[in-house]
Amino acid sequence: MALTLAAVAVGLVSASGVPGMVLPGRPRLGQLLSCAALCAGAALGIGAAVSALAGGTALNVHHPWPVPLGSLALRLDGLSAIFLLPILAVPALGSVYGLGYWPQHVLGGRAARLQLLYGLVTGSMALVTLADNALLFLFAWEVMAVSSFLLVLTEQEKPGVSRAAFAFLAATHVGTFALFALFSWAGNARHSFDFAQWQGLPAAGATGVWCLALLLAGFGLKSGLAPLHFWLPGAHAAAPSHVSALMSGVLLKTGIYGLLRFTGLFDAPPVGWGMTVLVLGAVSAVLGVVLALAQHDLKRLLAYHSVENIGIIAMGVGLALLGRARAEPALVLLGFSGAALHVVNHSLFKSLLFLGAGSVQHATGTRDLEHLGGLGARMPFTSLLFLVGAAAISGLPPLNGFASEWLVALGALHSMDRPRGDVVGFAVLAAPALALVGGLAAACFAKVQGTVFLGNPRSEHAAGAHESPTAMLLPMAALALACAAIGLAPSLLLPPLARAAAAWAGLPPSALAGPAAEAGRSATLVSGAALALLLAAAALWLFRRRRLPGPMPTAETWGCGYASPTARMQYTASSFAASLVRGFGWAVRSRVRLSPPRGLFPAQASFATEVADPVLDGVLLPAAGAGERWLVRLRAAYPGRIQFHAVLILLTLVATLVWSLLL
C-alpha cells in the first residue's frame, strides 16, 4: 500500500510541470496547478515514507520490464524512506517559493520549462531512492542528471552559467561511468541486476579496494565530497535560487544515499573502508568551510558549505562502517543515525538559506556580500528566518544542526572504546575535527548574517530593499519550524533511525536496541537543556523589558568620538574572514587584482580578490590545458582522411585480437 502510494507520488511529481506547459495562455493558473500537483504528490510520498518508517519492514514489488537485464523492482525500506522525506518536501516548498520568485506570468515559457524540469528532477530523485534494480536506478540517475543540467542552464545568457553547467554535466557523467563499471561487475558476479540479489557482496582484498574506489568516484562526484566537489560551487551558484535549494539541499544527498545503499550490500567492509570515508569526510568538511569563509558571493559561499556538510555526513558514514568492521553496535548506531539525521537536517537548513539568498537577490539585485548590509531593518522576516538557518548550519543548540552533529561526535567518542593499539581508536580525532568545523562555520555565518542583514547598507541596492511576498516567506517559515522542531525533540527520531541502521548493517533490530535506548536518554536530556535555554532566555528578556520600559534614547554608534560614520567605514566581509583565510593559506589561494593609488592626487584605485578553487583552478584546468596542447600537436600529424580512420579501426581490432589471443 505504502509502496503503491510512493509510486503514484513519483508519477504525479514527475508530471507536475505539465499544466504549466499546456496552459500557456493562463500562466498564473498553470503554475498554481503545477505547484499543487507537486505538493500533492509530495504529500502522498511523504505519507508513504512515514508509514514505512513507522512500520519498520521493507516493502518490495517486482514487475518484468522489456528492457534487457532490467526489471521494474521497487523497494521502500527505512533507508529509502529517510531520504524520500527531504527529497519530496524540499522541492514542494521550493515550488511554492517559485510562485513568488519565478512567476510564470512574468517570465513566460522559461518559467514553465523550469517548472517541468523541477518536477521531473524531483520524481527521478524519488525513483532513485526506490529503485531496486541496477538498470532502473541508472535510468532514474540519468534523468536526474540531465534534467538538473538543464535546470542549471535556465539563465544561460548570464556569464559563466554555461561553463558551470558543462562542468556539472562532465562530472556527473564521469561518476555515472564509475557506476556502470561497478554495476557490471556486481551484475556479472551475481547473474542478476536486482539489488536484492547483490546482498553480501565480498568487500575484502583487492576487489574490495576497487569497489570502494568506484563507489567513491561514482557517489562522491554526485555528492560533492572533496576533492570531487569542483563542479559544485559553480553549478549551485549559477542556478535560480529555488533550484539551488533543491540541488544543494537534496540532489547531493542522492550520492550519500547511493553510498549508504551500496555499502549496505557489501559484507563486513574492512576497517580501511570506514577510515577512508571518515578521512575524506573530515577533509571535505574542513576544506569546504575554509573555502566558504573566503567567498564573497553569497550563493557560492552557501554552495561551499554543502561540501562541508556532505563531509560531516561522510564522517558519520565512515564511523558506521568502522562500527560494522569491528562489530561495535554503538558505533554503527551513532554513525548511521548521525549521518542520516544530518542528511535530513542539512536539506532543511541549506534550502532555507538558499531561499533566503534568493530573497536577498530578489530584493537587492546582488548577492555580493560587499554590496549588502542593513537588510534586517528592511526585510525583518527574511532576516529572522535566515538567522534560524545560519544558527542551525553552525550546529548551535537548540536547533537541528546540533542534534545530528552531536550524534556524529558521540559516535567518534565511542570509537575510543577499543583496546590500546587498535587503529580504530584514532577515529576519535573526528570529534575535534567536528569542533573545528563547527567553530569555522559559526565564524562564517556570523560574517554572512552580519554583513547581509546587520549594520548599514553598503550600496543603494541594499538601501532600497523590500520584504519578500508571502509566497516566498511561507516555505522559509515552514523550513525554519522544521529545524526548530527536530532540534527540540531529536529523541523521537532515534527509534526509526535505529531500525534503519540495523537493516543497513544486516543486524537484527534488537542488536541496536541497547545503544539506541542510551542515545535516546541522552537526546532527551539534550532536549531538556534546550528547553531550559529557551526558558532562561525568555525570563531574561522579560526581566530586561521590566528594567527598560518604554523607548530608550538613541545615539550614533560609538566611533571613538567621531560623530558622522558612514556605511563605508564598516568592517567588510573580506576583512572579517581575512585572518582565518590567511591561516589556511595552504588551501586557499586568493588572486588579488590591485591598482594602488599613485601620485600626489590619486584619481583611480581599485582592489579586488577572487578565490580560486584548489581542485578546479589548481589542478583540473591546468591539466586539461596541457592535455589540449598535446592533442593539438597530435592533430598536426593527422591527415584528416576517412581512409586513415578505417586503417586506425583495423589496427585497433588487430591489436585487441592479438591481446585476447596472448592472454
Binding site: 567518542l413 580525532l429 573545528l436 565564524a443 546587520l454 537543556a529 585572518s579
Partner: protein
C-alpha cells in the same frame, strides 16, 4: 533525596552567585602585584547592581539582534552551568556527550555576541567580532582534545564522570597525559575568557581589544548581562580546571566541596598572577599558542591510545 537537593542547591547557588567574586580576586591579586590597594573583593557585585538600575542608550543602526545578544549570551552560559560538576559531585545534568553541548552552548553565546557587535555597523566592533570568532574556532578543537584525553583516561563521556571518582585512578595510571591535557585546558581557559596573554580586559585602546571591543555599544542592564555572563564563563572553565586537579571521594561531600571552593579561589589567584607577570601576545601569535595547546593534547591522546 536530600542529597540530590543539596547538590542542586549547591550547584545552582555556586554557578549563579560565585562568578563576580572570581573577578574580585583576580583584580585584587593584580593590584597587590602593582603595589596598589585595589577595589574590594565584591566590587563586581556592586558594578552589576548599579548597571541593572541604569537605563540604556542604543545606536540608531541597531535592530532587535543587538538587544537579543546579551540575553541569549547569558542564558546560554547559565545553561552550560547545568552540566558543570562542582565540588566533586555529579552535575544536575549529566549524560554521555554532555561536554559537546557544554562547548556548543558557549559557542551559541559567542555567535550572538558577535552578531550584536556587527549590528552596530562599527568597524571596531566588527574587528573585535572577527578576532573573537577566529580565536574561538581554534580554541574549540583544543578544548575538545583536552576533554577527550580526560574521557579516555577515566572511561566516561560526561563531564561529571570525567571529573568524578574515576579521576583519582586516572591520575595514578596516566599522569603525564593528564598533565599535558591540564596545560592545554588552562591555555584554552585564558583564550576563551579573554584574559592575558590573549586579550587584556583592562585595555583602553579599541584597536587592540578583542572581547571588550565587541561590547562597546552596550549599556545598562545589557552590559550587566554581558559582564555577568563573562564572569560565569570564567567560573565554568575554572571549575573544570579545579575539578581536574582535585582528588575527590577521600572525605565527605562537604569536605570536598570546601576544597573545591578553595581550589576555585586558587585558580583566580593563578589567573591574576599570570596577568600580572605576563605581557599580551601579538594578535598573530595567539593562533600559534592555541594550536600549540591542541598539539599538547594530541600528544596526550597518543600516549593513551597507542
Amino acid at each position: 533525596m536530600t542529597d540530590l537537593l543539596a547538590r542542586a542547591l549547591f550547584q545552582a547557588g555556586l554557578v549563579l552567585l560565585a562568578p563576580p567574586l572570581l573577578l574580585g580576586i583576580v583584580n585584587r591579586v593584580k593590584a597587590l602585584f602593582a603595589g596598589r590597594k585595589g577595589p574590594p573583593l565584591w566590587q563586581a557585585y556592586l558594578d552589576l547592581a548599579k548597571l541593572l538600575r541604569k537605563g540604556a542608550v542604543y545606536s540608531r543602526t541597531t535592530t532587535w539582534v543587538f538587544r537579543a545578544g546579551p540575553v541569549v549570551g547569558l542564558a546560554a552560559v547559565a545553561c552550560a552551568g547545568l552540566m558543570l560538576p562542582v565540588g566533586g559531585q555529579p552535575a544536575l545534568l549529566a549524560f554521555p556527550g554532555d561536554f559537546i553541548l557544554f562547548a556548543y552552548l558557549l559557542g551559541l553565546a559567542r555567535f550572538f555576541t558577535a552578531l550584536a557587535a556587527l549590528d552596530t555597523g562599527s568597524s571596531f566592533e566588527g574587528m573585535g567580532a572577527a578576532r573573537e570568532v577566529t580565536f574561538a574556532s581554534m580554541a574549540e578543537p583544543a578544548l575538545f582534545l583536552a576533554l577527550i584525553v580526560l574521557a579516555r583516561a577515566t572511561g566516561s563521556l560526561s563531564l561529571s564522570g570525567m571529573l568524578g571518582p574515576g579521576l583519582t585512578g586516572a591520575w595514578s595510571a596516566a599522569a603525564p597525559a593528564l598533565l599535558l591535557a591540564l596545560i592545554g585546558l588552562f591555555v584554552v581557559t585564558l583564550a576563551e575568557n579573554a584574559r592575558i596573554p590573549v586579550d587584556d580586559p583592562n585595555t583602553h585602546l579599541e584597536l587592540t581589544m578583542i572581547h571588550e571591543v565587541m561590547v562597546l555599544d552596550h549599556s545598562g542592564p545589557d552590559l550587566a548581562f554581558i559582564l555577568y555572563g563573562a564572569a560565569m564563563k570564567l567560573f565554568l572553565f575554572g571549575a573544570v580546571v579545579v575539578g581536574l586537579v582535585q582528588r575527590s571521594g577521600t572525605a565527605g561531600p562537604w569536605a570536598s566541596r570546601a576544597w573545591f571552593l578553595l581550589g576555585v579561589a586558587g585558580f583566580a589567584v593563578l589567573v591574576g598572577v599570570v596577568e600580572s607577570v605576563m605581557a599580551r601576545l601579538r594578535l598573530t601569535r595567539v593562533p600559534q599558542m592555541l594550536v600549540g595547546a591542541s598539539v599538547l593534547s594530541v600528544f596526550a591522546l597518543v600516549l593513551l591510545l597507542r
